[in-house]
C-alpha cells in the first residue's frame, strides 16, 4: 500500500476545496449582481455615458437623473407615485397579517368541522393559477363600483386569500407546545386574548416573515394595478415606471434608471435589514411542510 505519496497531498485537500468554492461563488456572484451595480451606477451618469461604456462607475457622477426623473414627464412628481404605492401596500400588509394570524389560529388549534377539507382547500389556493380568477374578479369589482380605486387591491387580503402565509403561520403555531395557552386560560383569558397576548408575541418571527414577503410582493405587483387603475394620479410606482418607458422615444435612460433605483430602494433596504426573516420564511414552508 503506497500511502507515502498520498499522505502529504491529502492534508491540503480542505484548502483546495475552499479555493475552488470561493472562486465559483465570487465569479457567479459578481455576474449576478452586475446588472444591479450597473443600474445604480447608471442612475448617476448622464445619458450619453450610459451607452458609452459597460463600466458601472460613473466618470462624472451627477444627480441629474434623479432630479429630472423625479419630476417625471407627467403632471405628477415621483413623490405622488411613491405615496400611492404606500397607500396600497401598507393596508395590504396589515390586513394580510391580521387575517392570516386569525385564520391560522383557527386551523392550528381548534377542532373545526370539516377541518381536513378546509385545509385542503387552503393548500389548493396556493397552487391555483390566479389568472383563471382574474376576469370574474374584475367584473365583480366593477359591479361594486370599485374600479379605479385601491379597494380591489387590498380588501381581499382581509379574508386570508394568500394560502401560503396562512400555511406558514400554521406550521409555526403547530411547533409550539399548548401549555402556555392552557395556563393563560386557567388565568381567565378567552381565546382571543390568548391569541393576542400569548401566541402572537411568540410567533412574532413568522409574522414578520409574512409581513416582509407581502410587502415585497405588493411592491412588485403590476398586473392588479394595471387592470384596476385608470387615472394616472392614482398610479403606483410600478405603473408609473412602465409608463415612462412607453411614453417617450428619445428616452432619458438615466432618469428612468434613477427612478428604478428609487422604486427598488424600499425593498432593498428592508431586505438587508431583515434578511434572516426572508430566508426562514421560505425554508420553513419547504422543509417542514
Amino acid at each position: 500500500m503506497t500511502m507515502a505519496s498520498a499522505n502529504g497531498w491529502r492534508r491540503h485537500l480542505p484548502l483546495i476545496n475552499a479555493f475552488i468554492r470561493y472562486g465559483v461563488l465570487i465569479g457567479v456572484g459578481f455576474l449576478m449582481l452586475y446588472p444591479l451595480f450597473w443600474m445604480i451606477g447608471g442612475a448617476f451618469k448622464n445619458n450619453h455615458e450610459i451607452f458609452a461604456s459597460p463600466g458601472f462607475i460613473p466618470s462624472h457622477p451627477t444627480m441629474d437623473g434623479f432630479t429630472k426623473g423625479w419630476k417625471t414627464s407627467t403632471e405628477y412628481t415621483f413623490a405622488t407615485y411613491l405615496l400611492n404605492t404606500m397607500k396600497i401596500v401598507i393596508p395590504k400588509v396589515i390586513l394580510t397579517v391580521i387575517s392570516s394570524v386569525i385564520v391560522a389560529y383557527g386551523f392550528a388549534r381548534f377542532a373545526i368541522p370539516g377541518r381536513k377539507l378546509l385545509f385542503a382547500l387552503l393548500m389548493a389556493t396556493v397552487l391555483l393559477p390566479k389568472s383563471v380568477l382574474l376576469i370574474p374578479q374584475y367584473l365583480m369589482f366593477r359591479e361594486f363600483g370599485w374600479l379605479d380605486t385601491y379597494l380591489p387591491l387590498y380588501i381581499p387580503q382581509a379574508f386570508a386569500v394568500e394560502g401560503f402565509f396562512v400555511f406558514l403561520i400554521i406550521q409555526f403555531m403547530r411547533s409550539l407546545p399548548v401549555d402556555m395557552e392552557e395556563a393563560a386560560v386557567m388565568d381567565g383569558c378567552n381565546s382571543f386574548q390568548v391569541l393576542t397576548l400569548i401566541v402572537c408575541p411568540v410567533i412574532l418571527p413568522a409574522i414578520i416573515s409574512v409581513a416582509l414577503f407581502q410587502f415585497m410582493w405588493s411592491m412588485n405587483d403590476f398586473l392588479q394595478p394595471l387592470i384596476y387603475l385608470s387615472s394616472v394620479e392614482k398610479y403606483p410606482v410600478a405603473l408609473a415606471l412602465k409608463m415612462s418607458i412607453d411614453v417617450t422615444e428619445a428616452t432619458s435612460w438615466n432618469e428612468i434608471l434613477a427612478m428604478s433605483v428609487i422604486a427598488l430602494a424600499p425593498s432593498l433596504i428592508l431586505f438587508f435589514v431583515a434578511q434572516k426573516y426572508f430566508v426562514e420564511g421560505v425554508t420553513s414552508g419547504a422543509v417542514k411542510g
Binding site: M1, M3, A4, A6, N7, G8, R10, R11
Partner: protein, 372 residues
C-alpha cells in the same frame, strides 16, 4: 507478524489553537477490546476519530496492522465504525445498508448477497433485510450498524458510544450481546463510552482519558484495585471511592501511618515514599468498610442516609470531626440500621488506597496478585 493492531505514537490534536489531545501513546493488541473512557470533553471521541481517519493529527503517528495510516483515507485503513447515531442511510433497506461498502468496492452482487445474509443471521436480522431504518426499533438499528461494520471484515472495529441512545434496560441487553460478539469473533476493537460500567464489563483493557491525556491504561481489575491517581480512583467504581483528607505521619517497610481527625490509622502499604506532615488522601471503597462494635473500628460516625437496593444496602455515614462528605458503606441487604444511629467502622487494610497531595498513588497494598 506483529501482535499489535493499533499503535498510537505521541499523537496530538489541536482545533483552532486549542489542544484537545495532548500527546497520547498507546497500543491495542490484536484481538483486544480496548475501551476509551472519561468525562465529557476528555478527548475520547476525538481519539477514536483520529484512528478512523475522520480527523488528522496535528503531530504524531498512527499505525494500524503494521501500516502507517496517519494521513490515509478512512476507507483505506482497514477500520469500520459503529456511529453513536448509527448513521444508517435512511433511504436504503437493511440489506443495502449493510452491503453498501461492498458495493462501492465493486464486489459482485451475488457475493455481496451471501456475505450480507451471513452477517444478518449472526445478528438475528435475517427477517428484517427488506425493511427501511425508519421501520426498525432502536436495538434493531444498532445491530444493523454493527452488521455494516462486520461485513467489511476490518482489522479494527471502532465503536463510538453505541449504547448511549438506548434506554437503560436495552442497554444492558446490548452490552451482553456485544460482549458475546467479541468473544466469538475475537476482533480487535476500540470502544468509546462515558459509562464506566460498560468499560469495566466489556474491556480487556481500559484507557482512562482526562483533558486529552491518558490517566491510566490497563485491565479493568488493575484500574479498580490499583488506581494510579485520584482521578482514576474516583472515576472507576460505582458508587465512587470515599476520599478522606489525612496527614502522613510515618512509614515503615510494609506499613504507613496517617493521622486523621479521629486519631492515627496504620495501613499495610509497600513502596510508599512518605514525607512526614504532608497532606494526603485516604481512599476507601464502600466494600472495604464494615460495621463493627465500639473500640474495634478505626472510624465512627452517624448514619445520615440509607439506600436499600434489596440485594445490598448503602449507608451514608458522617464521620465525626472530618471535613469531608459522608462516607458510603456497603452493607448486606438485610442490614438493620436507622438514621441517626451511631456506628463504628472497620477498615479492610488490604483494600485501602493512599494518594499524595498531587493526587498520585503512594505505594500499593502488599498482597495483590497484580492483574496483568
Amino acid at each position: 507478524m506483529n501482535t499489535s493492531s493499533v499503535i498510537l505514537d505521541q499523537v496530538t490534536k489541536s482545533f483552532n489553537g486549542h489542544d484537545v489531545i495532548k500527546g497520547v501513546s498507546l497500543e491495542v493488541k490484536k484481538g483486544e477490546l480496548v475501551v476509551f473512557v472519561g468525562p465529557s470533553g476528555c478527548g475520547k471521541s476525538t481519539l477514536l476519530r483520529l484512528i478512523a481517519g475522520l480527523e488528522t493529527p496535528t503531530s504524531g503517528k498512527i499505525e494500524i496492522a503494521g501500516e502507517n495510516v496517519t494521513y490515509a483515507h478512512p476507507s483505506k485503513r482497514g477500520v469500520a465504525m459503529v456511529f453513536q447515531s448509527y448513521a444508517l442511510y435512511p433511504h436504503m433497506t437493511v440489506e443495502d445498508n449493510i452491503g453498501f461498502a461492498l458495493r462501492i468496492k465493486g464486489m459482485p452482487r451475488a457475493e455481496i448477497k451471501l456475505k450480507v445474509r451471513a452477517v444478518a443471521e449472526t445478528l438475528q436480522l435475517g427477517h428484517l433485510l427488506h425493511r427501511l431504518p425508519k421501520a426498525l426499533s432502536g436495538g434493531q438499528r444498532q445491530r444493523v450498524a454493527i452488521g455494516r461494520a462486520m461485513v467489511r471484515e476490518p482489522d479494527v472495529f471502532l465503536f463510538d458510544e453505541p449504547l448511549s441512545n438506548l434506554d437503560a434496560s436495552l442497554r444492558g441487553q446490548m452490552r451482553v450481546e456485544i460482549a458475546g460478539l467479541h468473544a466469538r469473533l475475537g476482533a480487535t476493537s476500540v470502544y468509546v463510552t462515558h459509562d464506566q460500567v460498560e468499560a469495566m464489563t466489556l474491556a480487556d483493557k481500559i484507557v482512562v482519558l482526562n483533558g486529552g491525556r491518558i490517566e491510566q491504561a490497563g485491565p479493568p481489575m488493575e484500574l479498580y484495585r490499583r488506581p494510579a491517581n485520584l482521578f482514576v480512583a474516583t472515576f472507576i467504581g460505582s458508587p465512587g471511592m470515599n476520599i478522606l483528607p489525612v496527614k502522613l505521619a510515618g512509614a515503615e517497610r510494609d506499613r504507613v501511618t496517617v493521622t486523621t481527625a479521629q486519631g492515627p490509622i496504620t495501613l499495610p502499604r509497600v513502596n510508599a515514599r512518605v514525607v512526614a506532615g504532608a497532606e494526603a488522601s485516604l481512599g476507601l471503597r464502600p466494600e472495604s468498610l464494615s460495621l463493627t462494635t465500639a473500640g474495634k473500628g478505626q472510624l465512627s460516625g452517624y448514619v445520615n442516609l440509607i439506600e436499600r437496593l434489596g440485594g445490598e444496602t448503602f449507608a451514608y455515614v458522617a464521620l465525626k470531626g472530618f471535613d469531608a462528605p459522608p462516607v458510603i458503606v456497603r452493607l448486606d441487604g438485610e442490614a438493620e440500621l436507622r438514621i441517626h444511629d451511631e456506628v463504628h467502622l472497620a477498615i479492610d487494610g488490604q483494600r485501602t488506597h493512599l494518594f499524595s497531595a498531587d493526587g498520585l498513588a503512594l505505594g500499593h497494598a502488599p498482597d495483590v496478585k497484580a492483574a496483568s
